[in-house]
Amino acid sequence: MSDILVILESRDGALRPVSLETLGAARQLADARGSQVLAVATEQGTYDAATLGAAGADKVLVADATAHSADGAAATAARIAKEQNCNLVMAASTVRGRDLGARVAALMGGGLAADCIAMDCADAASPTFTRPVYAGKAELKVRLANGVGVATLRGNFFAPAGRSAEAAVENIAAEAGKANVSGISAQSSGRPDVAEATRVVAGGRGLGSADNWHLLESLADALGAGLGASRAVVDAGWRPHSEQVGQTGKTVAPELYFACGISGAIQHLAGMRGSKVIVAINKDADAPIFQHATFGIVGDVHEVLPALTEALAAVPS
């Protein structure tokens, strides 16, 4: 059966860890097929043969582009898929990955299963992917026609293979594109992005005002967590849209999600219900969020959050 091609994502020359999860999923399918996992890095960077091999890659092809080009990267990946007879291409479901996924699927003349959260390899030639729709209010199990096309995989749902193997690394020529990245500015907070964090601390109207966000920031820093926000506080201008969790925001699935002063509107629940453990803190005991929480505290966030932050400081992590 055909090999699988994984598109690696990097920024400023550094591989993004979510790509290792994609490699792990591809490895699982390749093992079921008895085939290989190829990876393509569409721009220059540091690609460690041991790390990539351990995650699942057999071979890594590094293109000689010096910056990210959206259509150039897609053309490079589609060319490699064709040259290497890979009928399935996988990428992480990030902003870049979703973009590339659709382009590569179009170039391959195949299908697209975006933002998948599970994969069933029982039919290895054409695996079944589970993907949320309606912002997580339902799930589809889908198969690409003839197994041909692209699957993008949501972060925190798949794991690197963790094997002891080293990938072969080769250089290839990149395709040029017409939509090119000319600048990247990193967020300055130093906290992980809410969409990728393994722990998230999110706040809503119950915080009372934007000035009270330091309570959440302190808790987030004690946990090494990313910051999230409800739509209400983003619409009120308290927080940037990049932190919004829910429909018309980001969908997150961390190990641990703190919903602080968030009532739990259906649009918010849709964006975070995949979290493994949900802690809700709200002074309204009837808030819908409590029906979805693993653990709940009824109380004022202004009192509970500082106590929680202080107690966590004493917990060995």
Partner: protein, 249 residues
């Protein structure tokens, strides 16, 4: 500036999803213009008016019902609308949709194609970049800031933990993210004017499906949780639960 803005009819985001015959049960569902497409229509109108010339065409692939959403785009200020009609359009996968849309606008002159970054029903984020790829024009996705200077397109998007600036040239495709603009509401005058604007319906063939839906299901229920207590006094019990029970600390 000639702009094509793509519009999809979707269930409102407040919809409570029920499933019937492996599809969304349409009973009681309110349908609206995809919220991200509102940003696309708004941006199209703004750019047309800034340029002082050109037109905005709103296009939808639908089983006919999207006449309403196209009228909304006309009422907001689009000049004309095109409904690509197919009885099966409601259930088609995103790549097949992209192929039909690309087919439907083939031969039309445009400087810019504007899309919502995703449709809030299937959430694939795929139609914009796929249409652009099929038509051979550059595309910048999930844009929160757009500047056009002559033929040069400069767009910003938020990626995980950073903001990227991308550059391309017209003709170009853009998919629109929340933050790009504040979509206008149609005025009464606009709604009246929309009734007289051209809305063409054209039958369109769909290519063979590129993805098959095996099953649609509601997400697994979360196991019942529990209250650990009230106020700051409950913090030690919460930390115990997170460490010993959930093992996430």
């Amino acid at each position: 500036m000639d702009i094509i803005s793509f519009v999809k009819r979707v269930p409102a985001t407040t919809t409570i999803v029920a499933i019937k015959d492996q599809q969304l049960d349409p009973q009681g569902v309110e349908y609206v213009m995809n919220p991200y497409d509102e940003f696309a229509v708004e941006e199209a109108l703004k750019l047309r008016d800034e340029a002082g010339s050109g037109s905005v065409l709103a296009v939808s692939l639908s089983d006919g019902a999207a006449q309403k959403e196209l009228r909304t785009a006309l009422a907001m200020g689009a000049d004309e609308a095109l409904l690509l009609n197919n009885a099966e359009a409601g259930n088609v996968d995103c790549m097949t949709t992209a192929r039909a849309l690309a087919d439907g606008v083939q031969g039309r002159n445009f400087d810019l194609l504007l899309f919502g970054k995703q449709a809030v029903d299937r959430d694939q984020h795929g139609v914009g970049p796929a249409v652009a790829t099929i038509l051979g024009v550059p595309c910048i996705t999930e844009v929160v800031k757009l500047t056009i200077e002559g033929d040069k397109v400069i767009a910003e998007r938020e990626v995980e933990g950073a903001r990227e600036t991308l550059e391309a040239s017209l003709p170009c495709a853009i998919t629109c993210q929340k933050g790009l603009n504040e979509p206008r509401r149609a005025s009464l005058k606009g709604i009246m004017a929309a009734k007289k604007k051209p809305l063409e319906t054209r039958e369109i063939e769909l290519a063979a499906a590129s993805m098959e839906v095996v099953e649609m299901a509601l997400p697994p229920e979360r196991p019942a949780g529990r209250m650990v207590g009230e106020g700051a006094a409950a913090v030690p019990a919460l930390i115990d639960a997170l460490r010993a029970e959930a093992k996430v600390l």
